[in-house]
């Protein structure tokens, strides 16, 4: 155990810790469910003490929702275009312990506002670690899917779509909820949903999912895959509309497979990137860039 610092990816639900040595190698990894929701506003100081004890007093660099207004300390957003050095300069230090919290990134462009918190580490790391080109479109699917346009290694701009949240809402509540419990796989129903996204008529196409079942035009079991395809297709189509073709994907295999199918349906190419490797490369680069 010759760690130099501990990197903690501290999200809403999960927490991952990586002990990283002087060569940038991970010498220990821990994962638990002590996300910001479980810890609660008043629990962070005690959690940090416990982590510090666990890792022998090594300095720690935290990223993710721990830096939000529902986390430990709210850190200001670094506006786009954002580079790694600016992010490192704006790390918030918790005194007296040697604990830093990485800021998020914001954007206001063309009348659109957007924010990210935690994803920026993977984005910088994908480029810094040589996992993606310095000029590239990167995608991080999930509850709130992030799409980032990297330019010379900077985050030049980004867009968040509530794709995963919308699927969860429809599955849990309202008209379609009773029919969205089939498997979500990138088969024929999924691809049909992706194609129907090109209608640009999401609210009507969603209702059509109900009607198609009532009229016996689609098996109820295929509805979930269809709606997933419709939502992911809507997200992907909007991002590739400008002619972009290559997407670098930071995701677990299941989500990556669904997004890849939609990207290919719209004529794009999906390049898979190791998201854990990107996080480690990103947080190590921020650590090395600290002023």
């Amino acid at each position: 155990m010759t760690g130099e610092f501990v990197a903690i990816d501290w999200g809403t639900t999960n927490r991952r810790a990586y002990v990283i040595d002087k060569t940038g190698d991970v010498v220990r990894t821990d994962r638990d469910g002590r996300g910001t929701l479980a810890v609660g506003r008043d629990g962070f100081a005690a959690e940090a003490s416990a982590l510090s004890a666990r890792y022998g007093g090594l300095p720690m660099l935290l990223a993710g929702m721990v830096g939000s207004n529902r986390g430990w300390h709210e850190t200001a957003y670094v506006p786009c275009p954002a580079d790694l050095d600016t992010l490192a300069r704006n790390v918030h230090w918790v005194e007296p312990a040697r604990i830093g919290i990485v800021p998020g990134v914001s954007q206001v462009a063309g009348g659109r506002a957007d924010v990210m918190r935690g994803e920026e580490v993977q984005l910088f790391g994908a480029v810094a670690g040589g996992l993606a080109p310095g000029d590239a479109l990167l995608c991080q699917p999930g509850t709130h899917c992030k799409w980032a346009w990297m330019k010379a290694g900077r985050i030049d701009g980004f867009t968040t779509a509530m794709t995963g949240e919308m699927f969860a809402l429809l599955k849990s509540h309202g008209l379609l909820s009773s029919q969205l419990h089939g498997p979500v796989v990138p088969g024929a129903a999924f691809v049909e949903g992706v194609a129907d996204a090109a209608r640009h008529d999401l609210l009507a196409t969603l209702f059509g999912t109900r009607a198609a079942m009532l009229l016996g035009k689609r098996d109820a079991a295929a509805s979930a895959a269809y709606v997933s395809g419709l939502l992911i297709g809507s997200d992907v189509e909007a991002r590739l509309r400008d002619g972009t073709r290559d997407v670098h994907m930071l995701a677990d295999p299941t989500l990556a497979g669904l997004y890849a199918a939609a990207i290919e349906a719209f004529g794009g190419r999906c390049h898979h990137v190791d998201s854990h490797g990107a996080f480690v490369a990103g947080i190590t680069s921020i650590w090395r860039s600290l002023p």
Copy 2:
């Protein structure tokens, strides 16, 4: 009290009864909360007996969700293009009482399926009652907004959008729910949402609503109007995209005002139609057309 028959608009939540005389005039109106949900599957026979007693044994014509698989008797859908005579021929009679249930209307076209149940009475009535032209686009906003293209008085085709349901879902659950409690009025924030609908990027634009609040770019109090504009705008834009300009609106004043603002923002004209008058004209025309 010289009623000829009783027309009942029996929806999921509400029930309206109209006693109609031989000249087509309404001589009595009742409204209560005994919708299909409140009555429950096993309660319809008793409800019908009570109604029959209340209205002196007059024959009754029922329309709406009472004819669905969650109502009293499921009636088959009449496929589009649907005319009033076909609807009247397919009324389902409940024996031995003189009670008829009006069928719904279905459509399968261009890979899209759609259904309506109850709205068809207003649509036929708007034309039969001289409240709208025989060739027109009619709109019935609500939880599931119906848009019907009438041709020579027939329902030539229609589209349902889950516009109202989506607003209710977002207001009650998930990321945006905490910020969607401001007034929904057709002011500046609403019109901004309508304009942003033209981006064809609903999932990202919705997330932007959260980011705009976090970054201080839009007051939280204006978020509900903005999101309402975005959803109604998405619905309206998809319907007017083919160059249609005139929309005949069957709605209460609040919803009609919001839809009219969106229709005008996309260069259309909104013509208001008395929806209760349309229902009475429609159900009377069906009654007169019974075989």
